[in-house]
Amino acid sequence: MPETRIVTKRLRDHPEDSWTLDRYLSTGGYEALRKALGMTPEAIQDEQVKASGLRGRGGAGFGTGQKWSFLPKDVYPRYLAVNADEGEPSTFKDHMLVERDPHQLIEGVVISAFAVECHLAFVYVRGEFALGYERLSRAIAEAYDRGFLGRNILGSGFDLDVILHRGAGSYIAGDETGLLSSLEGERAMPRIKPPFPAVQGLFAKPTVVNNVETLSTVPAIIERGGDWYAGLGVGRSTGTRIFSVSGHVERPANYEVELGTTFRELIEGLAGGVPGGRSIRFFIPGGASSPWLMPEHLDEPTDMDHVQNDLKSMLGSGAIMVFDETTDPLLVAWRLAKFFAHESCGKCTPCREGSGWIEKILYRMSHGLGRPDDLDLMLDFGDNVVPGLNAPFAQTTICALGPSIMSNVVSLDRYFRDEIAERMGADTRTRIPAPGGGGG
């Protein structure tokens, strides 16, 4: 089954210069903006974006039009913050979109800002995306030059300024409210909701935070209509999504497919399957924060609700990581735990302490020093981070990083409990005798 290229069409058709203004204009670029400026903001919100069923492509999958509608009426200024701080392990789609089709993102930003009546937008680009920053920076300057940004855009009377802001190495800055803290010049620590950003966001003003892929999809929706977009995909998972497939596959890459495409079509079809004829041991369907899936799930459709409700995982950021039969699941779990321990901002105790404990325990388990009760130990205190330990994860922390640290442990318990019990073997701890022969 082939890809359905909408957001990635230009960069695939013209890999040599897809990021240039000339190429953008010669492939229909900024026509959607002209069309949008002839509509009313309400029409764009309701008849196009809400009707399209577009859901956020950053991880949470919240309805984009619905998110916009939470802005309180008649409160100005309001801001749009673009989340280009892609950091979820094994996700590399926004990186590609920023580097290879920056004008498409800018066009999406202008249309969306017009729809939510905002006149100042911020693009928060991950610090490590040096080339992406450079290309976006040039694209923004070009857009000002041609009247797609600035005062009285294309003679419509609408004004918009865009400020490009570079991050500096922090996963949690990609959290919606962590991003706002970072933009304000603080440590990127998430904030308690409510108040939600739509009510009190950046500089305590109403703010919409949208992901790069989400906004890059908006021009196509305006051009071809919300109803057209809603006709793609499956159920409430409308349209296409870019899946980043990596790990043990022949052709690791981003693939844009209609939602509902099966994992097998993505992993074995488009990405060419596991090299060397080896088999898949397990795969992670939606970034490091999503619970793992097994080979028996390969024929399941990439339907956000189905994956969450029936498979107890999530499509998250759209990063599919594939691990072959030679992979030690404990080693993968430990490396992801190490990531979360490193990136925990330290604001909430369950996450700050829990991530470190899990990293240490998984380290010893994956390096030949594990104890028979280690898995149960993690589940025991993990219940304080994620009460009930059942998807969708409840949380005792301000942001979703807390529950994410448990997804690997829950996965080990679901699918590898017997193997782990066998491998941890007998308790080999050197026990310190209680003083006086007992009563300790």
């Binding site: 040096a130 920053y133 450079e134 490091a288 990063a319 990581m321 490193h342």
Partner: protein, 168 residues
């Protein structure tokens, strides 16, 4: 440390972009790092003066973000990813080999980093934030040596721009 007159003008221009001056903290830290090769205590103090913050506040922000180097580093920062897609494709082995190779090399600082969002290039490394991958040890060593001998032009230490003549 002080910003050069040129960078001081650039700093004022950056501050003026934002509705609230403090938002310029990260951009000014990048600017200082690009100028000096690292973020010195003096630089944090100066940034504090520009933004009306204490140097402790600036340090508090600076120390949160892994790209800011609060000790001098080599002119080339080699970042090697060892997160899972690189883990199963030789990332940790690449990291160890490069760490050993540049142990006593003042020009090159090798660091382990989290996912660089380029897993199609696994195992991937960055040299001053330019991507290279997939690379084995030999290919990585060749690339690093080409940067050292300026056959390749590296970006500034924060990766902001390619600038052969940049002061370090």
């Amino acid at each position: 440390m002080a910003f050069t007159p040129e960078n001081r003008a650039r700093a004022d221009e950056i501050v003026a972009r934002y509705p609230v001056a403090k938002s310029a903290t990260l951009p000014l830290l990048h600017l200082a790092q690009d100028q000096d090769g690292w973020v010195s205590p003096d630089a944090m103090e100066e940034i504090g003066r520009i933004l009306d913050l204490t140097s402790a506040q600036v340090l508090g922000v600076c120390s949160f973000y892994s790209m800011f180097k609060r000790e001098p580093v080599g002119q080339l920062v080699v970042s090697v990813c060892t997160n899972v897609s690189c883990l199963v494709n030789g990332g940790p082995e690449l990291l160890r080999a490069l760490e050993d190779r540049h142990l006593d090399d003042d020009d090159v600082s090798v660091e382990e980093v989290e996912c660089l969002a380029a897993c199609d290039l696994a195992p991937v490394m960055q040299v001053n934030y330019d991507y290279h991958g997939p690379v084995d040890v030999e290919a990585a060593a060749t690339i690093i040596d080409e940067y050292k001998s300026r056959v390749r032009t590296p970006r500034t230490i924060s990766g902001t721009r390619v600038d052969a003549g940049a002061a370090r």
